[in-house]
């Protein structure tokens, strides 16, 4: 048997009670929890959620944390229609309901203002969620670090946290819509490509801290484009998810 050389405290399951639910759009809902004993988190981390049916059947999934580290823990759940857990979390769960969760988890896809910048965030769809935690952290700390967000979504209605994003100060927010767009749309109207990244991102010589999150093909494409533009592969942190049962 091998054991870590440093003792690590177990990440225990905790009872979390839904304090509030917020419908973000037709597919996504934010759940705000009260979690007694919660020790806080870093922006970009995730939690494991465990649901138990009355007959004892158990399902677990991982979800990115949407809230800033000092705010009440919130998750934003995108409903996958054939999913096992996300429809329950985004439709059935109500204020006052409890579930089990544990975390925070993950020490790589994280950012603190102390880590510095510039910060380049590239999100596809609900891949915005862990990046939102970073943006909220940046805002809460009143950081002057140069932050750029490029968010790709299918339609304008699919942009999560639109009002909040538009109100962020000192953050350059760019959107691209890939399926349809309003008549008065002034953002990009295509999938992310090299020209778009060059227009939005700090120069590679500025050595941005880059975080890319979204579906696997999105992340593969964005990360490869960044490397081809001269960004250091080691500076690019990726988090990929796929519709795998959510």
């Amino acid at each position: 048997m091998t054991e870590p050389s440093v003792a690590r405290a177990p990440i225990v399951w905790r009872e979390a009670t839904v304090r509030e639910t917020i419908d973000e759009n037709a597919h996504a809902r934010t759940l705000v929890f009260d979690v007694p004993g919660w020790q806080g988190h870093l922006a970009g981390q995730h939690v494991d959620v465990r649901l138990t049916a009355e007959d004892g059947y158990v399902a677990e999934r991982s979800y990115s944390i949407a809230s800033a580290p000092k705010d009440p823990l919130s998750l934003t759940i995108e409903r996958l229609d054939d999913g096992e857990v996300s429809p329950y979390l985004s439709e059935e769960l109500r204020q006052g309901d409890a579930l089990e969760l544990r975390g925070p988890i993950g020490g790589f896809f994280t950012w603190r203002v102390e880590d510095g910048g510039p910060l380049l965030l590239i999100g596809g769809g609900s891949g915005l969620v862990p990046l939102m935690s970073m943006l909220r952290h940046h805002r809460a700390e009143q950081s002057a670090i140069d932050v750029r967000l490029l968010l790709s979504a299918r339609t304008a209605d699919d942009i999560l946290f639109r009002h909040e994003l538009d109100a962020l100060e000192g953050v350059s927010v760019s959107y691209t819509l890939t399926r349809s767009w309003p008549d008065d749309w002034t953002g990009f109207q295509r999938r992310i490509d090299a020209d778009m990244l060059e227009a939005v991102a700090p120069a590679p010589s500025a050595r941005p801290h880059t975080f890319v999150c979204g579906p696997t093909p999105f992340v593969e494409s964005a990360a490869n484009l960044l490397v081809s533009l001269g960004h250091e592969p080691r500076s690019i942190r990726a988090e990929r998810f796929g519709p795998t049962g959510g």
Binding site: I11, F108, F241
Partner: protein, 201 residues
């Protein structure tokens, strides 16, 4: 006493033998991709695989030399710490036992290292005795880059992050040296049947 989730029923799968699904996992038919950075794409002419460190003989194989080694084709289940399990995956590759015969390790720990600066640590016991391979073929076709091609480690009895994608060698060490995820919150050993996901599990 668990907390029951009012109104939660779940999707039980009657086409899956529950004894093949570790605790907290669900079965997927897809093949999700998990990696921490961009996908490396080395040229095969530059590719090599090396066993070094505490060994009687440092050995390096080029891509062509590696393909002169005897291969095995086998079908087994894989388990990712992000909760998915994929049943009946078929791979072709070279047993780590075969590779180690050439190098003869003299210590008990191994760091698998890979393109993209990835490392993961294993005990020699966990990768010998028919428990680990270096594979380059999935379901009869060359392994795709996003799944770890040209070649990846395969250690199916541990969570899949131990099966280093884009693997380029093994460094045998006298002490256990936690790798990339093992220093970023994930368990040092990673046995899915014991649900050793994170630090402290």
């Amino acid at each position: 006493m668990p907390i029951f989730s009012r109104g939660f029923h779940g999707h039980r799968r009657d086409d899956v033998d529950p004894a093949r699904v570790p605790p907290g996992q669900y079965v997927t038919n897809g093949f999700p991709v998990l990696s921490a950075g961009p996908t490396p794409r080395p040229h095969l002419a530059d590719w090599s695989f090396t066993i070094q460190g505490a060994v009687d003989r440092v050995v390096t194989w080029s891509w062509d030399e590696f393909h002169e080694l005897p291969t095995e084709t086998f079908t087994l289940d894989i388990h990712c710490v992000t909760k998915w399990t994929k049943l009946d995956t078929t791979w072709t590759g070279v047993s780590v036992d075969t590779l180690l015969e050439h190098a003869r390790p003299s210590a008990g720990f191994v760091t698998a290292y890979a393109d993209g600066n990835y490392t993961t640590n294993l005990t020699l016991d966990d990768i010998t005795g028919g428990k680990a391979w270096i594979v380059d073929t999935f379901d009869g076709v060359p392994l795709e880059a996003e799944h770890g091609g040209p070649a990846r480690m395969l250690v199916p009895h541990l969570y899949f992050w131990k099966s280093a994608k884009w693997v380029r060698g093994l460094n045998v060490t006298p002490t256990d040296e936690p790798g990339f995820w093992e220093t970023n919150g994930y368990n040092n050993h990673g046995d899915p049947w014991l649900e050793q996901r994170y630090w402290g599990d």
